[in-house]
Symmetry: C2
DNA sequence: CTGAAAGCGCTTACAG
DNA sequence: CTGAAAGCGCTTACAG
């Protein structure tokens, strides 16, 4: 079944194509009466304007691309939802894509939205610089990085979180519970400058509070199995509390500890980044360093909208992390 | 910065526009040499074909719309991921949209993809019949419903799960643990025929196994607060085990029980639909009725692809639910 | 207030 | 193997 075209509408309404177009866009002079006639004809034909044709002429597509690494990660799901919602409110249609923590798939998404001639993009960038990224930037479209930044691409505004406040408070809480050695599991740092920064900040802060010899850091990569051995090693070294920089690691660790009879909050204290719902389901509930993902999303969307109006000028923004103490940080036996 | 057009490429390569087009699509006769020359010109200009223009001429957009109620629900996140992945493998670009469990927003998404002239859609439909849905169906595009169906729209293939096997096994497990009265919390049934069916099947099965007088059913809607009072009432009635038809309810309930000192698996047994990661994080772990969401997603995508080739002909498919027993079902004190 | 014409960036027969 | 021309469905000046 073929779509009705503007021509069909014009014919049925007994007017010219231009008149139909004017009725469609309620702009230009048009009489009330003809407008009504045209709208009637549209209804009768079930006319749906071809937005591709519209966009091609008017060079405004009303769509923006949004890329997240993995929609199954609740943090990114929340982020995507918030952004889509905010942009929808501003009249934009958001296309969500997934990079699977993979630079190639990111690039393929970028090429796809570029060839779609979208009005702009919001990205959680993957890894470092890339060809497609350069192309996107060269386009000078409104572009915002969220959650992560890319080294060397300093002209793009980035909205992310400042790890210092949350980490500071978490370390204080741990210390207040009588713990003298603290560990940090940093996740796949190679993929993400954000994770690198967190680790760096942790090292600085923890060394100041606990002394360099009492600070242990390990990264896990994407390998599930390594998690157990890392924790085992830390406990053997006398570490009483572990902070997870990457929440999927914490999820895995909590599950493993349960299965291995290690009691959270009693045998070891746990803090994780990201205020995920599931951390309120465990017993004990897990203390978290919240990135305030809703705020990041809202500010990210707003920054994007500012760029649309301001033609490119917009600044970066850091949202403070906050610490939410719960029972997973306890006094060791 | 304006995009380079096919004209620009033709000029630089010293050939005609048609020749560039042929090089682009590697179809029609074209000499190796000129093809190389053209490709060189494309590279030099950073040419990215306008897929809107391409689609308008060739009436194949290579994109499909995917609508889920709420991407923050891990079940739908998983579903969306699986589908997007499968379609990507088949050369399709998937646009994910969110209906927020809201028929209006669903309709607005449908209108948007329709005006985008996408090749087809996969929907987790919202509520009942609607104008936009009719329009979409009238288009005779490949269309698949996933997870839910719409009453009266029986021509559309639907891929969902069969609640019987999982519920049967769950009830057996509960019975084997010496429980004599069983409850069911059915979630926002009004929004979803799937939830209605689950409730219905539960009633039948439970009445057979426990006797009609020992079966208690309540629905919660989207209201958080009602959850507590529902559980309280059921416990007072002597209910030893509760099955949740809608996993977000179970998540809330587990969290509330924890806060109110009700011990899962000891004071009350719990089973929830959907094999979510978080149900393996709680202690005790929650027994679940899995819908095998990955399979649903894979089959949904495959059904869609079949429709693309077969021009409309494709059947519905039910995936069996399976029961995964864990410690949340225990012997009551 | 309304219509005829040009053109957005492509693809597709049709000639050559 | 290659090019000139028509046309996909719209919008936008330009006349009237």
């Amino acid at each position: 079944m073929a779509y009705a075209t503007i021509r069909d509408v014009a014919r049925l309404a007994g007017v010219s194509v231009s008149t139909v177009s004017r009725a469609l866009n309620t702009k230009g002079r048009i009489s009330e009466h003809t407008k009504l006639v045209v709208e009637q004809a549209m209804k009768e034909l079930g006319y749906i304007p071809d937005s591709r044709a519209q966009a091609m002429r008017s060079s405004k597509t009303g769509t923006v691309g949004l890329l997240v690494p993995d929609i199954r990660n609740p943090y990114f799901a929340d982020l995507a939802y918030t952004i889509q919602d905010a942009l929808f409110g501003a009249g934009y249609c958001t296309f969500i894509g997934t990079s699977s923590e993979n630079a190639d798939q990111q690039d393929s998404f970028i090429m796809s939205i570029l060839s779609q001639r979208i009005d702009g993009a919001i990205l959680v960038p993957q890894g470092g610089d890339s060809h497609a990224l350069r192309l996107l930037i060269g386009r000078k479209l409104p572009l915002v990085f969220v959650d992560r930044q890319v080294e060397g691409l300093d002209t793009i505004p980035v909205v992310d979180s400042d790890p210092i406040p949350g980490l500071t408070e978490a370390l204080e809480d741990i210390r207040a519970h009588g713990c003298s050695k603290v560990g940090y599991v940093s996740g796949p740092v190679l993929e993400s400058p954000t994770l690198q920064e967190r680790e760096y900040v942790f090292r600085e802060l923890a060394a100041m509070a606990f002394g360099e010899d009492h600070v242990f850091v390990e990264s896990t990569g994407f390998d599930q199995s390594s998690c157990v051995s890392v924790l085992r090693r830390m406990r053997r070294a006398g570490v009483g509390a572990v902070i997870f920089g990457y929440s999927p690691d914490a999820v895995r660790a909590v599950s493993l500890m349960h299965d291995n009879g290690i009691r959270v909050g009693l045998d070891i204290s746990i803090v994780s980044f990201d205020d995920l719902e599931m951390f309120r389901l465990t017993s004990p509930h897990i203390s978290v360093i919240s990135q305030q993902v809703r705020r990041i999303g809202a500010i990210g969307a707003q920054t994007f909208l500012d760029m649309v109006v301001g033609h490119g000028a917009a600044g970066s923004h850091r949202v403070e992390t906050t610490y939410i103490p719960r029972e997973s940080v306890g006094r060791m036996r």
